[in-house]
Amino acid sequence: MRIGLVCPYAFDVPGGVQFHIRDLAEYFIARGHEVGVLAPVDDLDADLPAYVTSCGRAVPVRYNGSVARLTFGPVTSSRVSRWLEEGGFDVLHLHEPVTPSASLMALWASTEPVVATFHTSNIRSRAMHAANPLLRPSTEKIRARIAVSEEARGTVRRHLGGDAYIIPNGVDTRRFAPDGAVTRWSGTPERPVLAFLGRIDEPRKGLQVLLAAMPTILDAIPATRLVVAGPGEVAEIASRLDPRVRSATEFLGAVSEEDKVALLRSADLYVAPHTGGESFGIVLVEAMAAGAPVLSSDLEAFVAVLGDSPSGRTFPVGDIGSLAGTVLELLRDPAERERLSALGLRRARSFDWDVVAGRVMAVYETVIEGADNSPVEPMLRAGLLSRLRWPMRGEV
């Protein structure tokens, strides 16, 4: 199958959407499909994978309440058209199609069957409502809408109407599979290890909640170790800590992927005290895939990742007492942690790329079948008037 993927954000800048597209493209290429990715780039000299075509330099613009690196304008437009023409794709898969960037332009110019994936859960309604009459005819070209989470699906329903099918982000779970090795973070019954991952100075990651719960935890199990992996200013946070908590806490700073995996594999308990801003709990999937028992705040995204018969425990967002109580309960109950670990390993498999990409492929096939069975689209009929209705490829 010839698949065209369009990324609205600069491909050489790290981000969830970019990683998702990269992994999806590489998964399909490894299985013999022909895949092309169209994306803006930040650095024109950046070393891009062979399957990526640049549609121009991304420009920082204020949109939807934050600065995004997007691309637009006539140069982009003609590059989008050329890429579509040269690609001859069987299916076009656009990401964030209502973001004013490459995806929207590809949607406008496309004649292929279109699949769209919605990632964000925080589209500002004002912009969307204002632009709706403009966007509507374009969004009607989309044959299948995918949302990466329940929240993203809610956004689609509110702002575009209709529904979206949920396919979560994929994780390469095999990379995290437990190997039984003892590392410097392996705990013992007397000295259990709690793991935290995420920026330490970003309040939404919730490190402050966990640190506030530590005195109670140390009162009951004095040798507990808290291992914190994530970038941020350590000195500033450490200086404010109770000396007992300070000596129980190891700040690793930003860690390599290998260390992150090793930490999750060895920890007795992975704690995710996030207070908001998570639309998809990928870090929870990684912890579960590594066999770490999970204790997380009850954010909507996290509860969704843990599933209907939860493969992890939760506590109310920001509730320090409940967090400390549950940590102690779990640290004292190895059988329960064993059970959570087994449930987590199983749950994580449903987020593996094998499952996720299989579903995306099922969407492609369904959409292509629908397009093959459609009568000829009016815009493909020859004639003067039809040219006025939709901009034809290359006309822009």
Partner: protein, 194 residues
């Protein structure tokens, strides 16, 4: 204003109106085409699901009682498909021919016939005819879900455009019947999902 100017103005306005009507009609035409494609994709997936279920029933990997139940539900669905085919012009009085009931029955039978133990047993021997058929049931059931959702989204878009005043006033939809959403239980058996 001289006559020429007035005539030009009127001509321009008429041209604009004509363009807008033509644009709206083609937009609606495109949406109708999308619904037609989606409904035939759904139809094809439903047939595949029933055939895969029949294959599972006759694979010899299930107990006779379960096989009989599955075979019965699958043949019922296939029979409805052959006896009440969707008309050639899908928008000409198109409804889903009352097949929702039989498809829901098939979904429920699959759920009852495939509890966790049965799925685990089938998957134990990945090469066996039962496991292969189960794989097909899974794949087609997932595609039924997708096709039905995509179809219903397309139907909602058509209905929204057709509710517009200009579309109704100028009868831009022609004789095409108003497409209906298709509603039936298409949940995958829970044991198959994980």
């Amino acid at each position: 204003m001289d006559v020429l100017q007035v005539t030009t103005m009127i001509a321009l306005v008429l041209l604009a109106v004509a363009w807008y009507l033509s644009y709206s009609a083609s937009r609606l035409d495109r949406l109708h085409a999308k619904v037609e494609g989606a409904v035939s994709a759904l139809d094809a997936q439903l047939v595949r699901r029933a055939e895969a279920t029949l294959e599972l029933a006759t694979s010899g990997s299930m107990d006779p009682a379960t096989s009989l139940l599955l075979g019965d539900a699958a043949s019922e669905a296939l029979e409805r498909h052959t006896h009440h085919p969707l008309s050639h012009d899908l928008l000409d009085g198109q409804t889903f021919a009352g097949r929702e009931g039989t498809e829901t029955d098939l979904t429920e039978t699959l759920r009852a016939a495939l509890p966790e133990e049965a799925v685990t047993a089938l998957r134990r021997d990945p090469g066996s005819p039962g496991a292969v058929a189960l794989g097909r049931v899974e794949a087609s059931a997932l595609r039924v879900q997708l096709a039905r959702r995509f179809h219903n989204d397309a139907v909602r878009e058509v209905r929204r455009v057709r509710a517009k005043g200009v579309v109704r006033l100028f009868r831009l939809a022609g004789h095409a019947a108003l497409p209906q959403v298709v509603d039936f239980d298409d949940d995958l058996p829970p044991a198959v999902v994980d």
